[in-house]
């Protein structure tokens, strides 16, 4: 099947040359890499804001910036991390690259839309960054843009919101592409239950992108109308209802957290069987639980609003639904752990990231349950307990999955191996630093430290201090990981077609893959995690 002599997609000459051959490409692999590098760049921007925030919080009172600057920092940190890093993260970078290959297709269904989606992403990114420097001051509302403050403030909210709107559009196009591709372009023999689980997670994600994103789109648009024309729908001084804004916002933004985590879960479902060298435990349960998370996850948004003034009835219903959505996640976790049983486990870097994913996601998820419990939520809502929760699920969950995916697929994407030792050092620093950074936030959150606070009471000092020190360890870890990978791009040893002896289709073709992926569309007969006879190549 594989033709080792074939020209890789890096070398293939197309219509354009040089930089144009990248930014005008319709090849899903190139678009995937475009996304990967853009996303990593913006991640570094978001992370720099985080670093400054942590520095400010190292001690009570003013440390480095003014309150206004701090408020803009966490707003832009949130906007960048959510809309520019974590939502597109795994689907747009790794999904674009591997979705067609894993189902035996040559490209996605609509390659040109795919390119357009990247351009929209870049425009959104440019607008978000531009909003930092134009207008009166950068937006200072938090990434949630709650009305009516977001209507009243004179900062550059409209532009930032518009950036988020454009990014939503980009996300929708990716979703349209993925669903159509999975429906129409599976290779012969690639039945629904022969698909790798990563595909299932992307499929479920794409549906959320399609159903939920437009709702936030219109909400943000109305917010802009509100600011420019004063239509009044969210403005209490004109009869509007600010709580309704929150409903509309969370109708999208809660499902969005599953847009973030599902692809991460998909990645974990790929990595664990490969390094345990046995088939995944409970394939169908993992596959269906992705759909269950996507559908039940659309019904729980009200758990962000327990103390917002929504009705008591709604509180109770949303709390109940919130607890139900934990069950499919639990099913996944148990199946992953069961996959390890009687395996032949090798602790490579991707595997370390996957196992730590399970640990950190479990902490994040279980604290999510605490927040879902009404009595507890009242106390910890909008405290740093929440901040810790969502960093555990987003960074500890999706972030670790992202880095796991990066190390797992790096040889395939670039045809080079990286230094395993350096990668493991980076992982260890990240893991230790991560817990030092965020665990204290649970503690001070429970003690009553509110979030989005520029300054705090003395009793919270120790927690913040430890946390800030943690952020430095995290920096070290991230730098080690990224520098190692960057070095390996040029200096790494050549990687074979299948360095991990994995069974899914992407490992059956050359590394890096040829332009058209498959010279001949393969006929699929084996299960995705059937390792019999698969060897390192």
């Amino acid at each position: 099947m594989a033709n080792e002599q074939s020209v890789s997609f890096f070398e293939e000459k197309g219509k354009h040359t040089g930089i144009l051959s990248w930014i005008l490409t319709t090849d899903h692999k190139r678009i995937g890499l475009l996304y990967l590098f853009s996303i990593l760049t913006l991640f570094l921007v978001g992370v720099t804001f985080a670093f400054l925030m942590r520095l400010e919080l190292i001690a009570p009172g003013k440390t480095i910036v003014e309150p206004n600057t701090y408020n803009s920092l966490f707003t832009l940190h949130g906007v960048i991390m959510i809309f520019l890093f974590i939502i597109p993260g795994i689907p747009a970078a790794f999904g674009n690259f591997f979705l067609p290959i894993q189902i035996g297709a040559r490209d996605v269904a609509f390659p040109r839309l795919n390119l357009m989606s990247w351009w929209l992403y870049m425009s959104g990114a440019a607008l978000a960054l531009y909003s930092l420097f134009s207008g009166a001051a950068p937006a200072d509302t938090g990434w949630t843009f709650y009305a009516p403050y977001s209507i009243r403030t004179g900062t550059n909210v409209s532009l930032t919101v518009f950036a988020a709107f454009v990014l939503g559009f980009s996300s929708i196009l990716t979703g349209v592409n993925f669903i159509t591709t999975i429906h129409r372009m599976r290779a012969p023999g690639m039945g629904w239950f022969k698909m790798p689980l990563f595909q299932w997670s992307l499929y479920a994600t794409a549906w959320i992108q399609i159903i939920a994103t437009p709702v936030v789109g219109i909400t943000l648009l109305l917010l802009i109308f509100e600011r420019t024309f004063g239509i009044g729908v969210f403005d209490p001084s004109k009869g509007g209802d600010p709580i309704l804004y929150q409903h509309l916002f969370w109708i999208y933004s809660h499902p969005a957290v599953y847009i973030m985590i599902l692809p991460g879960m998909g990645v974990i479902s790929e990595i664990i069987p490969v390094f345990a060298r046995k088939t995944i435990f409970g394939y169908k349960f993992i596959a269906y639980s992705s759909l269950a998370i996507a559908s039940v996850g659309s019904l729980v948004w009200g758990h962000h609003m327990f103390v917002s003034g929504q009705s008591y009835t709604a509180d109770v219903i949303f709390s109940l639904l919130t607890f139900l959505v934990a069950i499919p996640s639990a099913i996944k976790v148990f199946n992953w752990v069961a996959t390890l049983y009687k395996g032949s486990i090798e602790l490579t870097t991707p595997m370390l990231f996957s196992l730590s994913f399970i640990f950190l996601f479990a902490i994040g998820g279980l604290t999510g349950l605490m927040q879902g419990a009404l009595a507890i939520n009242v106390h910890i809502h909008d405290t740093s307990f929440i901040v810790a929760h969502f960093h555990y699920v987003m960074f500890g969950g999706t972030g670790f999955a992202f880095f796991g995916a990066l190390h797992y697929w790096f040889p395939k994407m670039f045809g080079r191996m990286y230094n395993e030792k350096a990668a493991k050092t980076g992982w260890a620093l990240l893991f230790v630093g991560f817990n030092t950074l965020y665990f204290p936030l649970f503690v001070i959150g429970w003690m009553g430290m509110p979030r989005r606070y520029y300054d705090y009471l003395p009793q919270f000092h120790t927690g913040h201090l430890v946390s800030t020190i943690g952020s430095w360890i995290v920096i070290a870890g991230i730098l080690v990981l990224l520098i190692n990978l960057l070095r390996s791009l040029r200096k790494g040893a050549k990687a074979g077609a299948n360095p991990w002896a994995a069974a899914t289709l992407e490992w059956q073709i050359a590394s890096p893959p040829p332009m058209e992926n498959f010279h001949e569309i393969p006929e699929v007969t084996k299960d995705p995690y059937d390792f019999k006879g698969v060897v390192v190549r």
Binding site: N68, N71, Y146, P148, Y149, R152, G154, S237, G240, P242, I243, A276, R277, K278, T279, F281, G282, Y283, F285, V307, S308, G309, V316, F323, A326, I327, A330, I331, F334, V337, A338, L340, Y341, K342, G343, S344, I345, L347, F359, A362, I363, L366, L369, M370, A373, L374, A375, I376, V378, H379, H381, D382, M447, G448, Y453, Y454, D455, Y456, L457, F531
Partner: protein, 319 residues
């Protein structure tokens, strides 16, 4: 580490501890299994993996048990919450007004303070109102919190303070520049002391607790000029300083006679600040916006009387 000072913490702590215990147990189980499997089935020791496709019984077990667990958690959380939303009949009501970036408390007898005074062991119901944007009223030591929503009339929370002392009140909904400083204290005093204070507002300094607390500004005392007291109570000085440094808004020092560029209905014009302009700024803050500032000044919840405004003007002119 965390203070418990009302009837609520008991309930909340219980729910918390139960869910925490279950969570820690599950986390420990999962982590233990992962580590155990990784060691036991490491490639070095176990080169021959055994393919297991799945096991229906196990799947059912680990679907049903978590379902029961989470339903239990939900129920427990709900029961605790129910208490928080059902106010006892005999609760004493106090109105809370939130505005950028100060709290104001209005008692049934018409008295106003910027520190909340409550009697010990008595159910207190706070009615929450906002003059401008969202705020959230949070007393960590009492485990209560509720958003203060403009336009929503029936926002409330209640508690029954059990321990004497003064506790932090914080704003937990982002509300702008000084959000982190929108805090005050709730002071719990014995019923008898409270009665005497409540009966004779001027006598506030008599309460021991209140005195010991450095932050607590009292109800207007005699030695404070009336104008200043008004500016403090209306919350003006949350945004306008008295010392000439502009903060969120222009400073009151040297206000009168200052030449200013304002934007009225989108048109810039130059004005000189006089008494008329001052009054208009309060009644209709959005009419003339000082250039370089945002239109975020709230309208007072009850219109200020002519006399009050005069007193303010007199005080500001004297700065």
């Amino acid at each position: 580490m965390i203070i418990d000072a009302s009837s609520m913490p008991q309930t909340v702590n219980n729910v918390f501890i139960v869910i925490l215990a279950i969570s820690v147990a599950l986390l420990a189980l999962i982590t233990f299994l992962m580590i155990y499997f990784v060691i036991k089935y490491h490639r070095k020791k176990n080169t021959k993996p055994k393919d297991i496709e799945g096991n229906l019984v196990l799947e059912i077990v680990w679907t049903v048990i978590p379902t029961l667990l989470v339903l239990g958690m939900f129920y427990y959380g709900w029961i605790g919450y129910k208490i928080m939303r059902e106010v006892p009949e005999d609760a004493m009501e106090i109105d809370v007004v939130g505005r950028m970036w100060a709290w104001e408390f209005e008692y049934e007898n018409g008295m106003k303070t910027d520190t909340l005074y409550v009697p010990q062991n008595k159910a207190i119901k706070l009615n929450l109102r906002s003059q401008d944007v969202l705020h959230s009223f949070f007393i960590p030591a009492f485990r209560v919190k509720h958003d203060v929503v403009p336009g929503l009339e029936n926002g409330f929370l209640w508690f029954n303070p059990t321990d004497l002392g003064s506790y932090d009140v914080l704003c937990t909904e982002f509300c702008g520049q000084e959000h982190a400083y929108m805090k005050t204290k709730v002071v719990v005093i014995p019923q008898e002391e409270y009665d005497s204070w409540y009966g004779t507002p001027a006598d506030t300094t008599a309460t021991g607790q209140a005195q010991s607390d450095e932050d607590s500004a009292e109800a207007p005392a005699d030695n404070i000029p009336e104008g200043l007291a008004l500016l403090t109570n209306e919350g003006c000085i949350a945004c306008h300083t008295l010392d000439g440094t502009p903060m969120v808004a222009t400073s009151f020092k040297g206000l009168f006679g200052r030449k200013q560029i304002v934007i009225s209905n989108g048109v810039e014009r130059r004005i000189t600040i006089d008494d008329e302009y001052f009054k208009k700024s309060i009644v209709e803050p959005g009419a003339d916006i000082v250039k370089g500032y945002d239109n975020m000044m709230p309208v007072p919840d009850e219109p200020l009387s002519e006399d009050d405004m005069k007193a303010m003007i007199a005080y500001i002119k004297g700065l």
